[in-house]
């Protein structure tokens, strides 16, 4: 798309590719120009330019399509893009890349000829490798007609560029002898491929006629193929723009070094203008004359001169040295890009093609990266470290406040905070994987991540460490601040009338701030009141007291459960003293908690016979939540305490609400159904209190069963007990346990004695139960919930003597028959179940319902 027609195609598409080893001619963009010098006055920009233009027009038509997009270059088309510098700038990167590629592709044969070493070693551009090099403007002396010392071609090179735009410069250069040398060199260069020869004597060739505008076909083709001319054309463009500024300057600079500082800037754009092979070629020891430092050129794909330094290619190499190496091969581009051409090509040329490709690729990558860095680094340093710290702290504080800092206190606090959720999750397997570790360890995570990031900063590891430390401190401070915050929830600003309450997610702003005046007082009062109340007003006050008792039990229970979680690691023989001590302490605490619980259960309160109010413990059991506490209590008490509780319950069996209220009542000869609430209580009791009971009794010795049964017989109203579900269940429990413990014949006498004792009690029980046998069944025959009765009967039947079994059968015969009859009308499944229930009993006494059918 360039107006100037430089070759925008990729290098691989260009004629370059066709460059074969045998193709030794060094393309010389200025070969044509050099011929022009023959007529002394002719060297002005116009001529030079036209010559190139002609050549282009004639030969590069083939590329016009590439350049102009295939459309005929109508006036309109052209006019649209007519923006020299802009167009150039647009493709500057491409250009430079191409140049690099080209440089790299310079065929080795050209570079390696040994004779090159004989040629003048220096380009004169070496100094340009130094970024801060500001040329001494010897050239200007030439401008003023003073013969440059050592006939340096350098100034001329400089002027030559200038001459392209400025007649003045052209004129002055004309007078300088060294110009001829330059041209000669150019010619020599152009011929060199064909007849390489030491270049030192340039004079002879000075006048060799070279057709100015019509280079030899060979040359021509080179240039066309290389796309070099376009580059030349395009560069002067830049120079053109600069001309007005740079032309006058040189003289001044000689005297005023300070101004020279600006020079580089101005000339920087001009760099491209210097591709004259001449300068490169001859470059005696006149570094001073070089206008500007072109070195960063090749690298300037990125427009980032600094990049160069990192690249490992010594831009700053002292001139002489690479001057030696860098001769003909790079000469075309070399002059303008010493850094590249001078040092690079040589190195690159020494590489194999693969290496070169790899190198170029790496180069391109690096360039891209650097460009990115450059873009990113645009705002570098905008914030000071203090700014960053400030922001970080604010962020951290927000984090910590948002999460409340509970997490630092460990799982305990989380549990306290979140008890329901945590435990619920544990029980029911909620999503959280580690319930003890709440998800909000933000501060830590943040710190970790940040630390990692800074830790990886290879560039300044020390700074990174520092930063981590600082971050840690900040996190600490932030956490502490957040912790401290809730303590002063209010801020009173001096002189203001109100208070400002802080609030956050953790501690919402309290809308009501009611302080209990003295929390200690109500309690002693109620405690003092309690005894009297208990006896005076047994209804509401009592209920409250009982509820309070239950709550106390629960809170102690929870303390114990908490405490259990804190059990220190199990003791071993070689445990450390500290561990042992912790264990001791733990045991002490659990012991004291146990005692507290025991006190609060009030099991040991004196039993007041015939008292209107039930025993406190029984009262506790009369509340659903009291019942629910029993299984938990049983886990935390000793066997002795368990048997005590059992005894207490058994003694008060008929006083239990689940028995007292569940005894069927007769009203007008009809059994009144048990109220639903009582039934619920009964069920709850059966589900909560009885299981630990049974569990205990299942391992109890016979004398326990005997003793408990004795208590039932002695202390309770057995008729009432036997008519309730709970009562029957308890009795079944005793009887069946005893039956299991019946001693087999070769038993020790003590066991026999126990058994005898039991048998006596059993007989007493049987006698007591027999009259109520018809009434032990709940409801009518159709009531299916009578399994427990059959179980009881079965238990009784197993232990009964034949005579007792007879009485048993007689007692329940009617019900058995009724049930069997009722079963006939039932669906198969239910019938089987109910008959099975009946069979429990029937089989216990050696019968079967089948026999009845």
């Amino acid at each position: 798309m360039s107006f100037f027609g430089f070759d925008a195609t990729l290098p691989r598409d260009r004629g370059h590719q066709a460059y074969k080893p045998g193709f030794g001619a060094t393309p010389d963009a200025f070969a044509g120009l050099s011929g022009r010098d023959d007529d002394a006055d002719a060297l002005d920009f116009e001529d030079t330019y036209d010559g190139l233009g002609d050549r282009l027009d004639e030969t590069d038509d083939a590329f016009n399509d590439d350049t102009f997009g295939g459309e005929p270059a109508t006036q309109q088309n052209v006019a649209k893009d007519f923006d020299f510098s802009g167009q150039t700038a647009k493709i500057a990167n491409t250009l430079q890349e191409e140049q690099m590629l080209y440089t790299a592709r310079q065929p080795p044969p050209k570079a390696s000829p040994p004779k090159r070493a004989a040629k003048p070693a220096r380009t004169g551009y070496e100094n340009y490798a130094q970024p801060d090099y500001i040329p001494k403007l010897e050239a200007n002396a030439g401008l003023w007609g003073i013969p440059p010392k050592k006939a340096s071609p350098q100034p001329q090179a400089h002027q030559r560029q200038e001459s392209q735009g400025a007649p003045i410069a052209a004129e002055s250069s004309r007078k300088m002898m060294s110009l001829e040398e330059v041209e000669a060199a150019m010619r020599a260069q152009s011929r060199k491929p064909a007849a390489p020869q030491p270049q030192v004597p340039q004079a002879p060739q000075l006048f060799a006629p070279v057709p100015p505008a019509q280079p030899s076909p060979a040359e021509f083709s080179h240039q066309a193929g290389f796309g070099v001319p376009p580059q030349i054309l395009q560069r002067p463009q830049a120079a053109y723009d600069q001309r007005p500024l740079s032309a006058p300057r040189p003289p001044a600079q000689a005297e005023l070094p300070p101004q020279g500082v600006q020079h580089p800037q101005i000339l920087q754009r001009q760099r491209p203008v210097q591709p004259e092979p001449v300068a490169h070629r001859q470059a005696p020891q006149q570094p001073a004359a070089q206008p500007q430092r072109p070195p960063s050129q090749p690298r300037q794909i990125l427009q980032n001169p600094n990049r160069l330094s990192g690249q490992g290619q010594p831009i700053a190499q002292p001139g002489p040295r690479h001057g030696m190496q860098q001769m003909g091969p790079g000469h075309q581009r070399g002059p303008s890009y010493p850094a590249n051409v001078v040092t690079y090509p040589q190195q690159i040329l020494d590489m194999s093609s693969e290496e070169r490709a790899a190198h170029l690729e790496a180069e391109a990558k690096r360039a891209k990266r650097n460009y990115k860095i450059h873009l990113l680094s645009k705002d570098n340093g905008l914030m000071t470290p203090q700014d960053k710290n400030f922001i970080t702290r604010i962020q951290l504080q927000q984090l910590v406040t948002a999460t409340g800092g509970v997490d630092d206190q460990g799982p305990e606090a989380a549990l306290a905070e979140d008890f329901y959720y945590q435990v619920y999750s544990q029980i029911r397997g909620a999503p959280r994987q580690n319930p003890n570790q709440p998800a909000s360890q933000f501060a830590q995570t943040y710190l970790f991540q940040t630390g990692g990031r800074y830790g990886n900063n290879r560039r300044r590891p020390r700074g990174g460490d520092n930063h981590i430390q600082r971050m840690e401190q900040q996190v600490q401070r932030a956490v502490e601040a957040a912790k401290a915050k809730p303590k002063n929830k209010q801020l009173v600003i001096e002189g203001s009338l109100g208070k400002i309450s802080f609030s956050n997610a953790k501690t919402p702003k309290p809308l009501l701030n009611i302080k209990r005046t003295e929390s200690g007082t109500p309690r002693p009062e109620s405690a003092a009141r309690r005894p009297s109340h208990m006896h005076r007003d047994p209804t509401t006050a009592d209920r409250k007291v009982v509820l309070k008792d239950i709550e106390n039990v629960y809170s102690t229970l929870m303390q114990m459960e908490d405490h259990e979680r804190h059990m220190p690691p199990p003791l071993a023989e070689d445990s450390e003293p500290a561990v042992v001590e912790a264990h001791m302490l733990w045991r002490q605490t659990i012991q004291s908690l146990n005692e507290k619980l025991w006190r609060e259960l009030k099991v040991m309160e004196p039993i007041i016979p015939n008292s209107p109010t039930p025993h406190p413990f029984i009262a506790i059991l009369s509340h659903p939540k009291g019942k629910k506490a029993v299984p938990r209590i049983f886990r935390h008490i000793t066997d002795q305490q368990r048997i005590t509780i059992l005894t207490m319950i058994v003694v008060h069996l008929d006083a239990l609400d689940v028995i007292r209220n569940a005894v069927p009542t007769h009203l007008n000869g009809i059994d009144q159904p048990i109220p639903a609430s009582v039934r619920e209580d009964v069920e709850l009791f059966a589900q909560t209190v009885l299981p630990p009971f049974f569990a205990y009794l299942a391992e109890a010795p016979l004398n326990i069963a005997t003793g408990l049964l004795g208590l039932v017989l002695d202390r309770t109203n057995l008729t009432a007990v036997a008519r309730t579900k709970i009562g029957l269940l308890v009795l079944t429990m005793f009887v069946s346990r005893a039956e299991l413990l019946r001693p087999v014949p070769p038993a020790p006498p003590s066991a026999q004695d126990d058994w005898v004792q039991w048998t006596e009690l059993y007989t007493r029980l049987f006698d007591a139960v027999e009259p109520v046998l018809p009434f032990v069944f709940p409801g009518s025959v159709n009531d299916a919930e009578d399994v427990y009765v059959w179980q009881f009967l079965a238990a009784m039947g197993v232990g009964a003597s034949p005579e007792q079994q007879q009485r048993l059968v007689l007692g329940v015969k009617e019900r058995v028959m009724e049930t069997v009859a009722a079963c006939r009308a039932l669906p198969e499944e239910m019938r089987a179940r109910r008959l099975g229930d009946v069979n429990l009993f029937m089989r216990a006494i050696g019968l079967d319902v089948e026999l009845l059918g």
């Binding site: 329901y420 959720y421 945590q422 435990v423 619920y424 999750s425 029911r428 953790k506 709550e551 929870m558």
Partner: protein, 102 residues
């Protein structure tokens, strides 16, 4: 109290609840999240009295500001009452401990 309710509601996430608003609309839906203000997010909602509030019939999910909620009807099976009781006990104990301190 929010401290207490928020975790409680967290256990009910993905259960169906009915939220009764102070403007008498009852919305049944799957509880998606609850925050400390007891703002509630429901999915797959249906209004209990759909005929009275036809404008809500096309709404599929809602975010309810906590302050407009009158009741939340909970699925009984998803609530562990005993545990909830304990949790309230703890809460009460902590509150009283705090009250004593302050």
């Amino acid at each position: 109290m929010n401290r207490f309710f928020t975790p409680f509601f967290k256990t009910l996430v993905d259960h169906e609840v009915t939220v009764e608003l102070k403007n008498d609309i009852s919305i049944r839906g799957t509880l998606k999240s609850v925050d400390q203000y007891l703002n509630i997010k429901l999915d797959d909602i249906s209004v209990v009295e759909e005929i009275r509030y036809p404008h809500l019939s096309s709404v599929k999910n809602v975010f309810i500001r906590g302050s407009v909620v009158r009741y939340v009807h909970l699925p009984g099976a998803a609530v562990d009452t005993a545990l909830l009781e304990d949790a309230t006990r703890r809460e009460a104990a902590q509150a009283s401990a705090k009250a004593k301190q302050g």
